[in-house]
């Protein structure tokens, strides 16, 4: 079984509600740690423009580069649901290993706080919420309902097979579990 995300880029207004909901739910202090990020992609010149937002977190990849890079096997991809989890007890900290997982991840999902020798942390797909029948807090927060999460096969059936969007590339070597509805840039056609 594999869980994953869906993101509708055409609906995202770049409001950052998902980011704040994530920080509140997971009790993350303001600062460098962002389990979920919203980035803005801008192209063109006045007045012919393309602007899109992309909201991403850890994609709970099929072959997580972070897990491969970790020298102490602190990162596990769970059999049961495909969620990639970090064991902070095992993690030796960014200063000891040099932050190899963060470096390896093409999506910048692993995060370190600004404390000394910070342990890696990242999106856990709101693991605890699934057991209560709830979807991740970001999904349930989105004012334009631009996000979803669920069984990856079901997401594909519901939303199609698009795996790239403005600002997001699919890397085969890691195989991220996110379906997207891309916003198409006139500059790329």
């Amino acid at each position: 079984m594999q869980l994953g995300f869906y993101f509708d880029q055409t609906r995202c207004v770049g409001c950052y509600t998902c980011c704040v909901a994530c920080k509140d739910w997971h009790d993350i202090s303001p600062g460098p740690v962002h389990w979920r990020k919203v980035t803005c992609i801008e192209k063109g010149e006045f007045p012919t423009l393309f602007v899109a937002y992309l909201s991403t977190s850890c994609h709970h990849c099929e072959t997580p580069a972070c897990a491969k890079a970790c020298p102490v096997e602190a990162i596990e991809k769970r059999e049961a649901d495909g969620i990639v989890l970090v064991n902070q007890e095992t993690c030796v900290g960014s200063e000891v290993c040099g932050g190899l997982c963060k470096e390896a991840c093409p999506y910048d999902a692993p995060q370190y706080g600004d404390e000394e020798n910070a342990k890696m942390q990242k999106c856990d797909l709101c693991l605890e919420r699934w057991s209560e029948g709830k979807k991740p807090i970001c999904v349930e927060s989105c004012p334009t309902r631009a996000m979803d999460a669920g069984l990856f096969d079901e997401l594909k059936t519901k939303y199609g097979e698009a795996i790239e969007a403005a600002g997001h590339n699919y890397f085969t070597e890691v195989a991220p579990y996110i379906i997207l509805k891309p916003k198409v840039s006139p500059f790329d056609i």
């Binding site: 409001c15 950052y16 423009l49 602007v51 631009a146």
Partner: protein, 730 residues
């Protein structure tokens, strides 16, 4: 009242009704009387999902900037040095000052300033207004900062300020014109962006007219039409020209439902003043190509139903009411008033009026108490209200008093729910005025820049620390605000403070022995909420409707029996009431009037950039400014077009000076193509933060805005000329 999830954790619903533009359901987790997390509506659609501001609730309630105790100033004004005092001492002092000023100089010399703050029914400014009104009255302010132009226009053109459809009705439109309207940031009613997204997906064409390529334009627009700020009425009137000369107007609709079209037509065609208001005429003013104007006019006239969503930002200009009156006129000419999928084009943000004809109003649990000094009926501030002062002129009035032609010399002041220094135009003048006052008391939740000028500070609690009822914005519903935690420190709800103050003022009939709960139950009854306890438990009550509410549907379907509430019973394109006001530059038909501090003002030689001060996605006016989760997401920057930046040797990220004769602010610049050349955007609401030289370092827009108002009372937050230069540090 709450769902039990663990032994000690409860989830309690409430409604976030901050001044952001929405009214959203929050489900607040609380453990051992401390808020731990917040969720939003996860019930049936349409869920009322909160935005980032609502989700930052925890940081707001537990902010380091919360004022927890009554305070007395011990440092210099503005220095922010205070010491804790008791409620007894604080309210005694305010009452003493009030009585002293009233006895020595008259009630008019005591100035009471407020703004809305959080939008509830019971704990509002009305509590303090009541205490002071019963004690003898005060000088106050008139005009609505956000949307006075829109309110004036709808009141005199439609006879009411209730002119919006429920947002779900956007799904019935074939064309949506978003004019200076950016609900992606300003919410504009809970779920507005969601409905726009759905409208777009079902094939509705969306056109955005705005000097800025806003997030709304980026997400929803099929076409973006950039137009110079303050020139909106010119473009609208040229659109009318196209409709008239191509006979595209709905003449039957005009004849049936409106008066004054012929006079307007004479003006548009140039019969009145010799200038036909052609698209070329408008192109020169607005910088929108004539062909674009023609096409938009044709589309609006022929794609029906079409919703013209009139943002309120364009109305915050030198003659903002003309834009609103012109937009309403076009909605009438195209027959889009009162029909599903259309829109009355009055103003796309109704805030306290909710976009639904509620039987109750903001502050309904404690309705406004008449102020004994009033000379006119305060008809929700549509018009000048002697002896009160237009909000933009309050600082001038404090400085000049009777000698300056104002009704009184102002000695002392009480500010409630208003970050006056940050929120009103011309901060440097306001500063002088604050220094002149003999005494200032302020009721606030946070240590704002304004509070630093207080002599006495009264701390008020937030909406999670008391019970109240909020009114939905964008759809018909009510939200119950449960008391989730005890008031922090010694902060108190407004109505408790009102009672305390009333007691010290010697007012005996403040509360008529009605408890807060009595008052809330009365509101629920007026609102026809069937089960108060169920409402409280669920946190929400939706008014049952089969289809979205459409304003003026009755007037259009059966005009004989449902006249408009204007003197003529019709939509007044020509308004005799406005004519009788006899004011310069306030014509009885909508006209384009060249704005001061617009592109053609001689001042543009020195200050060539038109500044707009848009509402920012992480603030609601000046609210939420210090929440760290919000601050880290989007920096406060000046946005400047790449061409204007290049001409000034400015690159992205530079520190820039933005200045004019009124003031200067220094902040980072974002060089972008998302704004017209010749225009810069400085998001309003940043908290004024002077350096040692007195130059603002926070990007507080109102150091630059002009303390003046339009003939109808519109605030000119978007009629500002500035120069911009790279900061050279020596």
């Amino acid at each position: 009242m709450s769902d039990q999830t663990t032994d000690s954790e409860k989830i309690i619903p409430t409604t976030c009704a901050s001044h952001c533009g929405g009214t959203c359901l929050l489900k607040v987790h609380v453990k051992d009387r401390v808020i731990t997390r917040t969720e939003t509506d996860d019930g049936e659609e349409p869920q009322l999902r909160a935005c980032l501001r609502g989700r930052a609730l925890r940081q707001r309630v537990y902010s380091e900037d919360r004022i927890l105790y009554p305070l007395k100033r011990i440092g210099m004004r503005g220095e922010g040095k205070f010491e804790r005092i008791s409620w007894d001492e604080a309210t005694e002092k305010v009452a003493f000052e009030y009585k002293r000023v009233k006895d020595a100089h008259g009630a008019l010399s005591f100035l009471y300033l407020s703004l809305a703050g959080d939008l509830g029914s019971l704990h509002t400014v009305n509590s303090l207004t009541r205490a002071l009104s019963l004690a003898g009255g005060f000088s106050s302010w008139w005009a609505a900062t956000s949307f006075h132009g829109g309110m004036f226009a709808s009141h005199y053109t439609y006879g009411t300020v209730y002119c919006s459809n429920e947002r779900a009705d956007l799904l019935n439109s074939r064309l949506i014109i978003m004019w200076g309207w950016n609900p992606a940031a300003t919410i504009g009613g809970t779920n507005t962006s969601w409905y726009l997204a759905q409208a777009k997906e079902q094939g509705t064409k969306i056109i955005v007219v705005d000097p800025v390529y806003t997030d709304s334009a980026a997400t929803f627009a099929d076409e973006w039409i950039p137009m110079l700020p303050g020139t909106d009425a010119a473009m609208l009137i040229a659109m009318a020209y196209v409709m008239i000369t191509e006979s595209l107007q709905d003449q039957k609709f005009i004849d049936t439902y409106s008066i004054g079209f012929e006079k307007f037509k004479d003006y548009v065609l140039g019969k009145e003043d010799g200038t036909p208001k052609t698209p070329s005429w408008a192109e020169a003013i607005t910088k929108v190509p004539a062909l674009t104007i023609e096409n938009l006019a044709r589309e609006y006239a022929t794609e029906k139903p079409a919703a013209f969503m009139a943002g309120i930002g364009p109305g915050r200009t030198a003659y903002g009411e003309q834009y609103h009156r012109a937009a309403i006129t076009l909605a009438t000419m195209t027959g889009n008033v009162g029909i599903p999928g259309g829109d009355a084009a009055a103003r796309a943000w109704e805030s306290v009026l909710g976009g639904y004809p509620y039987p109750i109003f903001f502050g309904a649990a404690l309705p406004p108490t008449p102020n004994p000094v009033d000379s006119t009926e305060p008809a929700f501030m549509f018009h000048e209200n002697y002896p009160h002062i237009h909000y933009t002129k309050v600082a001038d009035a404090i400085l000049k008093g009777k000698e300056g032609g104002y009704p009184a010399d102002y000695k002392s002041a009480f500010f409630v729910n208003t970050n006056y220094l940050v929120s009103l135009p011309n901060i440097n003048k306001i500063l002088k005025a604050l220094h002149k006052l003999e005494f200032i008391a302020i009721l606030e939740q946070f240590m704002t820049p304004t509070v630093k000028y207080a002599d006495i500070v009264l701390p008020s609690s937030t909406y999670v620390e008391r019970e109240d009822i909020a009114i939905g914005v964008g759809a018909g519903y009510y939200g119950f605000q449960n008391k989730i935690i005890d008031p922090r420190g010694e902060s108190k709800p407004h109505n408790d403070i009102g009672k305390l103050l009333a007691e010290k003022l010697g007012v005996e009939d403040y509360d008529n022995n009605e408890s807060d709960e009595d008052r809330l139950r009365m509101v629920a009854e007026l609102a026809q909420i069937p089960d108060y306890d169920a409402f409280k438990k669920k946190g929400i009550y939706r008014i049952p409707r089969d289809e979205p509410y459409v304003a003026f549907k009755e007037q259009i379907e059966d005009p004989e029996n449902n006249p408009f509430l204007t003197p003529s019973g019709k939509i007044e394109i020509f308004s005799k009431q406005i004519e009788e006001m006899g004011k310069d530059n306030l014509p009885p038909i909508p006209k384009y009037i060249e704005p001061w501090e617009g592109p053609n003002d001689p001042l543009a030689k020195r200050y060539p950039i038109q500044l707009v001060t848009n509402h920012f996605k992480r603030r609601a006016n000046a609210q939420f400014e210090t929440m760290p989760w919000l601050r880290e997401l989007v920096p406060q920057v000046l946005t400047l077009n790449a061409a204007d930046a290049k001409a000034r040797d400015i690159v992205n990220g530079d520190m820039v000076r933005v200045f004019n004769d009124r003031g200067e602010t220094i902040l980072p610049v974002e060089v972008t193509h998302r704004i017209m050349p010749g225009v810069a955007n400085l998001p309003q609401g940043a908290w004024y933060e002077p350096d040692k030289k007195g130059i603002d370092r926070s990007g507080s827009a109102n150091v630059l805005t002009k303390d003046a108002h339009s003939p109808a009372g519109s605030f000119p937050y978007n009629s500002v000329l500035v120069q911009i230069g790279k900061l050279v540090t020596v």
